[in-house]
Amino acid sequence: MAASGQRISGDTFWRGLAVLLAYGLPVVFILLPLAAFLVYSLFWVEGTEMHYDLTLVNYIRFFKEDIYIPVLRQTIVLCLEVAALGILFGYPVAYFLSSLKGRKKYTLLMLLLVPLLMSYIIKMYAIRSILGGNGFLNKALIALHIIDQPLTFFVFNLNAVLLTLTVLLLPFAILPIFLSLERIPKNLLEASADLGASGWQSFFGIVLPLSIPGVISAATFVFILAIGDFLTPQMVGGQNGFTFGRIIYSQFGFAFNWPFGAALSVILTALVTLAIAVGFRFGGRKAGAL
């Protein structure tokens, strides 16, 4: 009796601890920092002095000054383009992957995911050495006599940011699409062919509609990761490749206006939350049909 009583109280203890961790960790590591940001965004700075009374002056500044909203809009457009390019390049790769069989499929998948294990900074430097005015790409094009002057089209501007983000985030586009393609039962394709459909008809009639949830989550993934990135625009964007992430970064790094930086971060967080909600709504509902 005593032993079993002890065991029950021991169980209760561990269960209590597990519950505490399950709810406590997200609160401490996610919700509290977010709350801290929110509170910080309501402080204000005058010169180099922090004022700790609550005000909306930072948010008013965001809407009033001419620079922030256009940069945010431009950043959103950029990230939508990254997401679109990611889908455009990621879909065929994912489709090819899912059409492979057995070991080949997973070996290739692993290879595609290897870049995710590499340091972000290293990948960025590698891309810089390809894209620069004297970079590999320009040199190669000149050597092949395709051009005779180095192109500036992709040198340290928004195009370079677009290209780099697409390359870096491509695995995040491939993976959800690959998974949604894998989830399509093979017998649906057999049924489609059995009913007389050609390969193309089966693709557009069955495969594409059923992989839309994966496409939407891929787009959401890529968009969120791109819009939160400040390092890539910083390193390959040059003077022209100015994005919202860089503005936030500069508030913390150079302007020392943490409350304003926090306010811009809150706005970005709201935007990302919206993107997730939209992705969930459309991706989730379609996925429910499977």
Partner: protein
């Protein structure tokens, strides 16, 4: 019913890796018939269906449609449609979308599709469900959508791959009747694959029994039921009594098997019986055996003209609804043999209890010879 041959498999073999799944299969499907391929899992029955449908290619042999080899034709060019085991309905399309799919990919005009879909859904009694999605339907309804989707293109042959396996018993019985009705109505050839012998007997014009990649017997349900050609077929249909013994001399329709119960006269198909002295079985269906509990043979049977009579002791009696199955330890010179006996049940119960001594009798015509 020797009809015109629609489809013929000639010397078809197939291996998956080192496993031989089909071994030199010859099978002719007659136009308009309901043929069932029956066998346990792993017998190769589904492979035959998938080969006809075009989902797998034979390693050897020909598949002839109207005499022309179609073994190399792609799936979408074959005039056959399949009802898949788990229905394979398109989850993103409504019932109407699913049923109309085959016409749509053929480029049929929209109005024609709508009209034909409505007709076909009426045929399977799902007219009211055309705007539902598959996941909003019950198992039986999905089944009927799958059937409607397969018949709308008016295929020469409909392939059904264990389509009733996922349904519960009651619904399965209904669907069996329903499939028969549809078969009569649309007059197309049905090739139905199942592992359930009762289902095969209830539905088929002809049954093709398979095991280990070979066709063991092909014939009408009564043929394979009453005249099994092999031990496997004899055991596969219900709880047959197989009494092992040695084949005696003689030939022709009547042979004798020497068993522990003594020499038993059996009906034989000359071709399938072995040589004298070989291992053989005397096979008697449990419902063909009459029981005398001491008051004479039951009414309605052939009275005193039993060809074979043995005595024994009842070891168990089991009520099974319409029939009651008793196991009787039959005594012979060589020892005891347990025989299953099936008797029509009665509300007041049967006058037979474990421990009773009884006489068992049957007519020679009910005892079949099967080579061992």
């Amino acid at each position: 019913m020797a009809g015109r041959i629609l489809l013929e498999l000639k010397g078809v073999s197939k291996s998956f890796g080192a496993t031989r799944v089909l071994e030199q299969i010859d099978l002719a499907v007659e136009d308009g018939e309901f043929i069932t391929i029956l066998g346990p899992s792993g017998s190769g029955k589904t492979t035959i269906l998938r080969m006809i449908g075009g989902f797998t290619q034979p390693d050897q042999g020909q598949i002839l449609l109207d005499g022309k080899d179609i073994a190399k034709e792609p799936i979408n060019r074959r005039p056959f449609n399949t009802v898949f085991q788990d229905y394979a309905l398109f989850p993103h399309m409504t019932v109407a979308g699913n049923v109309g799919y085959g016409l749509k990919v053929r480029g049929t005009a929209r109005q024609t599709i709508d009209k034909r879909v409505a007709e076909t859904l009426d045929l399977v009694q799902l007219g009211a469900f055309k705007d539902r999605y598959p996941q909003q339907l019950s198992g039986g309804q999905r089944q009927r959508v799958a059937l409607a989707r397969a018949i709308i293109c008016e295929p020469r042959l409909i392939l059904l791959d264990e389509p009733l396996a996922a349904l519960d018993v009651e619904l399965r019985k209904q669907m069996q009747d329903f499939l028969k009705v549809i078969h009569r109505e649309i007059k197309t050839t049905f090739l139905f694959v199942t592992h359930d012998q009762e289902e095969a007997i209830a539905m088929a014009d002809r049954i093709c029994v398979m095991n280990y990649g070979k066709i063991l017997q092909l014939g009408s349900p009564t043929d394979v039921y009453y005249k099994p050609h092999s031990e496997f077929v004899a055991r596969f249909f219900g709880d047959n009594n197989l009494i092992e013994g040695t084949l005696g001399d003689g030939n022709g329709e009547r042979r004798v098997v020497d068993t522990t119960l003594g020499p038993l006269p059996c009906m034989a198909d000359g071709a399938t019986a072995g040589a004298a002295g070989s291992r053989a079985f005397a096979v008697i269906r449990p419902e063909a055996i009459r029981v005398d509990v001491g008051s004479g043979w039951p009414q309605g049977s052939t009275g005193g003209t039993m060809d074979q009579i043995v005595t024994g002791q009842v070891t168990s009696v089991g009520f099974g609804g319409s029939t009651t199955v008793a196991v009787v330890e039959a005594m012979g010179q060589g020892g005891a043999v347990p025989l299953r006996v099936k008797l029509p049940s009665r509300v007041e119960g049967l006058p037979i209890r474990p421990g009773d001594r009884v006489r068992l009798g049957w007519r020679a015509g009910d005892c079949r010879l099967v080579a061992g």
